[in-house]
Amino acid sequence: MSRTKVPVAVLGGVRTPYVKPGENFRELSNLELGSLVGREALYRVEVPPHWVDESIWAQGEGIGDGGMAHRISTGAGILEDRPAFTVVQGGCAGLQAVALAYEKIASGCAQVVLVAGGESVSQMPWVCHPSWVEFFRFRSSISFWGRIRRWLFFNFSHLRPLELMEVYRREALRLAERLAREFGISCEEQDRFTLRSHRFYMKAREARKVAGELMPVYLAPRFDKVVDRDTFPIESVSQDAIELLRHVEVREGGGVTSGSVAPLVDGACALVLANGDWARAEGIVPLGYIRSYAFCGVSQRAEGLGGAVAAHLSLQKLSMSLKDMELFEIYEGSAALVLALQLAFSSQRFAHEVLGRSQSLGEVVSHRLNPNGGALALGDCRGGSGLQMLLSLLGELRSQDLEWGCVVVSSGLREGGGVVVQR
C-alpha cells in the first residue's frame, strides 16, 4: 500500500526502566515520567525540541486532566505554542498514538511528532463503591425511610476502597483464563512461555540491547539513587522460580498464575516520528519506517483476539501476508493471550468465523516471536507498552539485519491494533 508518498520514519526513542509500582517511581506522576522520557528521546535522536511540531501522550487509563499532554510537551522542552493531545485506549493507546502521528506526518500537517506514552501505576487512584458515595450524599429526593434503610442495610465490605490497578489486573486475569480454557492451553504451556519471555529478555540484556533503549532515572529529591534496571525480569530463571508464583490466583480451569500475567509497572516510553525524507536531509538515520497500521473491534465471541484481526487488516493494506513478516512483537498481556493469538493465526476456524476467509492467516513461528522477551518479563505500563514494543522490534530488526516486522496488540478485551514496520 502506498496511499502517500511521504515516508514516516521512527527516528529513535527511549524508555525509562519499568519499575514495580509503589517503589522507586512512586513519586513520579505521568507528567514527570512523560517530560523526562520525552526530553531524553529528543536529545538522543539529536532533534532540538523546537523542531517538534506536535506531541501525543498515550496512556492506558483516563486519569489525569485534559491539559496533561500539553504540560508534558512543555516539560519535554517543546515550544508552548505547539499542540498536544492525549490518547486513552488501554493497551492500544501507544499504537494508536503512533498511528495518529503517522497520519499527521503523512498528510503533511507535521514534520516531527513526539509520541510518548506511559503510566504511573503507583499514582492510579483508588475507587470506592458507589453505595459508599450514596451513603454520604444526602439528596433531598431520598425519603427519610429510604435513608434509614440505606444506613441499616449498608454493606460494609463496600467501604474497602478498590485500587484501580487491581481492577485492570483482574480483567486481564479473567481474559487469560477464558482464552486458556477456550484454546485448551495448559498451565505448563503458559509457564513455559513465561519462562521463555524472561530468558529472552535476559539474553537481550546481556547482549546490551536493552541498555540502548533505556534511560537511567535519577530519583528526586536526593538524586543519589540511579534507577537503570527493570524490576521484574528474574535474573536466574528456572522452571522452579515460575512455579513459585503459581500458588497465587490459580482459578478453576484456566491454569493462569500470577507469573503468567504481565505485571503492571510504572514507566514511560517515547518515540520521535518524522518525515523520512526530511530526516535524511537533516542527516539523521531513521530506525525504521512505519508502513501501515490498522485497528479493529471484535465481537464478544472473539474477545482478546482483536490483535489477529488488526494484524491481518494492516497486512491487507500492503497486500502482504503473514509469512512476509520476519519478526513479530505480540503484546504479552498474559501468556495465554499470546499463545491464543498464535493459535488463532494458524486456525482455520478463526479465519472462517471471524474474518470470513477460507484459509487460515498463516503461522507465527516461535523463533520470530518476541525475540527480546516482552511484557511478561518486563511488565506492562499500559500506554507505554505499545511504543516499547515498536522500539524493541525496530532495534531487533536492525541488529538481525531484517526488513519487515509487525507489532500486534490486543487489549481492552475487544480491541486490537497492528502496525507494520519496515527498516
Binding site: L28, S29, E46, P49, R71
Partner: protein, 695 residues
Amino acid sequence: MKSLVEIRQESENIYSLVLNPMQEREFRIDESFMYALLYALEELEKYPDVEGVLVYSDREDYFAEDGEFRCFLEVSEEELRRRLIFFRDVLRRLEGLDAPTVCLLRGRCGGMALELALVCRFRLAAKGEGSSFAFSQLQKGMLPYLGGGQRLVRLVGLKAALELLVEGRGFEAERGLELGLFDGLFSGPDLICEGVRWLRLCGKRREEGGKGSFLSRLLGGVEGYFLRKRYGSTPVASFLLRTMLEGIRYPLGKALEYELDMVLRFLGQEGVRNELRYAHLEDVHKRSQGIFFPPCSVGVVGAGRRGRQLAAHLAANGIPVRLKDINPQALGEALRYAHLQLRGEEGSTLEGGREGKPQLYLGKYPRLETLISPTLEYTGMRHCEVVVEAVMEEKAIKGKVLEELEKYCSPEAVWISLISSLSLGEVVGGCRHRQRIAGLQILYGVDTPLVELIRGEKTSLETLKFLQNFLKSLKKLPVVVKDSPGFLVNRVAFAYLNEALHLLEEGLLIEEIEEAMRGLGLERGPFEFMDHLGLDTLFYLSKNVATRLSHWPASSEIIEKVYKSGREGLKNGRGFYIYEKGQKRVDPRIYDLLREFRKDRKRMPSSLVANRLLLTMVQEAFLCQMEKVVENMVELELALTMGLALPRKWGGLFQYIKNLGIEKFLQTMDHSSPRGKLLPSKELRTFLENYEKVC
C-alpha cells in the same frame, strides 16, 4: 510622532492617560515624560465633565523603567532643584485633578512607576505571574524623589513603608492589597474595562485624607527609635528614615518640600554621587545590546563543582541543559545540588520532613530541575548552541575533552572553557575551531555577577559578542580579558593578598591588618577575603599563576601550610577565621600553626599597613592596564571594584588614590618595604596624575 503620554476616551466622560503609546522597549520616567504628562494634563483639564481618569501603560510586560539617576549627577545644584520642583509640581497637578484617578498596574513595575501610581487616588494591580512590584530605588542607591516616600508612609504606615522601601524586595499584588498599597486587584487582559468598572462602582468614594497620620505622628517618635535600629544601617536608609519621620509631621505639601531638600542634600555628597555613577555603569554593562535570543539548549560537560553550579544557574534562568559526565554519581549530585538551589528548602528535603511521603504532582508543572538532563554519553550535544567544558582543571584532560567534543558538536556551536589558572591558549591548542572557543572564569560563585570572559588568541569577535550578550542575559557582568596568567581579578587579588601574608610574616597580627583595611571602608579585610575566595583556589593560584609572572615576588609559604592543614575557607567553615553559627572570629590556633614563618612581633601604624596593601593593589592593576589585559578602562575599574569588594563610594581604585593625594600616598612608602619592590615606578606616578575619572 506620538507623544509619550496620550489621552484616550474610554467611555462617556471617562478618559485615560496612556503612557508609552508607542510601546517602546525603553520607556523611562524622566524629564521628557514629565513634560508630556504636563501637556496631557493641561489638555485634560480643558475637558468638561470628566468623571474619571485611568492611568495605564500600553505595554503589557512592564509599566515604566526608572529614570536614570545619572542625569542628576551632571547638572548643577540649581538645575537639579529646578528639575525636582518641576517633577513635584507636575505630579501635584495630577494629584489635584477633580475627577478620581485610577492607576492600573500590570507587568514589571519598578520604584518610580509605583511612585507615580501613588499619586493617583486609586491603584489597581494585576494578579498573576506577569506582574511584579518592587520599590527598587534604594537598591540602586537613590532616595525616592517623586514624593513616593511621603505618600507611601501616609498610605500604609511607617513600618510597612520602610519594609517596602528599605528591603526593596519584590512583592506580589496580593501582598500590596494586604498592606493597603493597592485598592483592588484585577486579572485578565481587559484592564480598561476593569478600570471603568472600578470608577463606576467606587469612584464616588473620596479618600479620607490623612487619616491615621495623627496616630502615626503620635507614635512616630517611639516607633522611629526602634525602626532606626532595624533599618537605619546604611546611610541611604537612615536618610530615608529621617525624611519619613520628619515628613510625617507636616501636611503633604510641606513634607514634599522637606523631602526635596533632603534629596538635594543627599545628592550633594561625593560618596553618594560616586556610588550612583557606579551603579549606573554596572547597569549599563549588564544590559545586552540589541535583541538577543537565548540559546535553546546548553551542553555542559563535567558535573564537578563549577559544572553543577553553572547547570543549576542556567536551569534557574529557564535554559535547558544537557549535562554530561562519566560518573553517574557526580550527575546525581549535580541534580541534587540544582534541586536544592532551585527549591531553596534545604532543611526540609535533607532532614526528613516531607521526604518519603508519596506526593501527587498531578496539578503541578514539571519542576525546574528537570531542565537539566543528565547523560553519560555525548548524545544531544549536536544542537546545543553553547557548549561549556567544565572538567577538571588539568591541561591534558581539558584538551582531550575538547577534542572529543569536536566529534559530537555542531561546528556552529560556541564553546566555553571554564578555566581559572590555566592558559586558554594551551588548553585549546589541539582544536580546529579555535575561533569559536572562549574561556570563562567564574569568580567566587556562580551567583556573583562578575565573570571574566577570556579572549584567546584566535577567538573571533563574533563569538565574543555572542557570549557577552548571553552572559548579560543571565544577569552577569562579563569583563573581557586577555589570555594572560591569572587574568585580571585573581592577579590583582593575589598580589594584594600575598602582600597581606608577607605583612603577617613580618610580625603583624591578623586583626591589625584586617582593621587597617576595614578602616578604609572595605567590607572585609584581606584574610576574610581569602576565606571567601577559598584557600584551595588561592593555593592553586600560587602554584599555577604566580610562577608564570616573572615580576612577582615569591608567594608566601603560609598559603600552602594553611591549606594543607585542612582549611579551605568559608567552604568548610575554617580558614584564617572560624565560621560558626553565623559568627566569625579569628582562629586562635592559626598563630601556632604559622610560628615557623613569623618573625618577632612588630608594630606598624595602620595607615602604613593600608597604604602598603593599597599600593600593591594599584601597582598590579596598573601593570594590567599597561599590558592591556582589559581593553576598556571602565571595565577595569568595574571589575576591580566588584572583584576585590572595594567600596563603591570610592569611584574606582585609581580615583581613590588620586583623591587621597598621590604625593602623600607615595611618600609613606619610602621606608616601609623591606624588599624594595614596592617603590612605585615613574610610569605609575604619571599615570595617576593624568588619570581621569571613569566611574
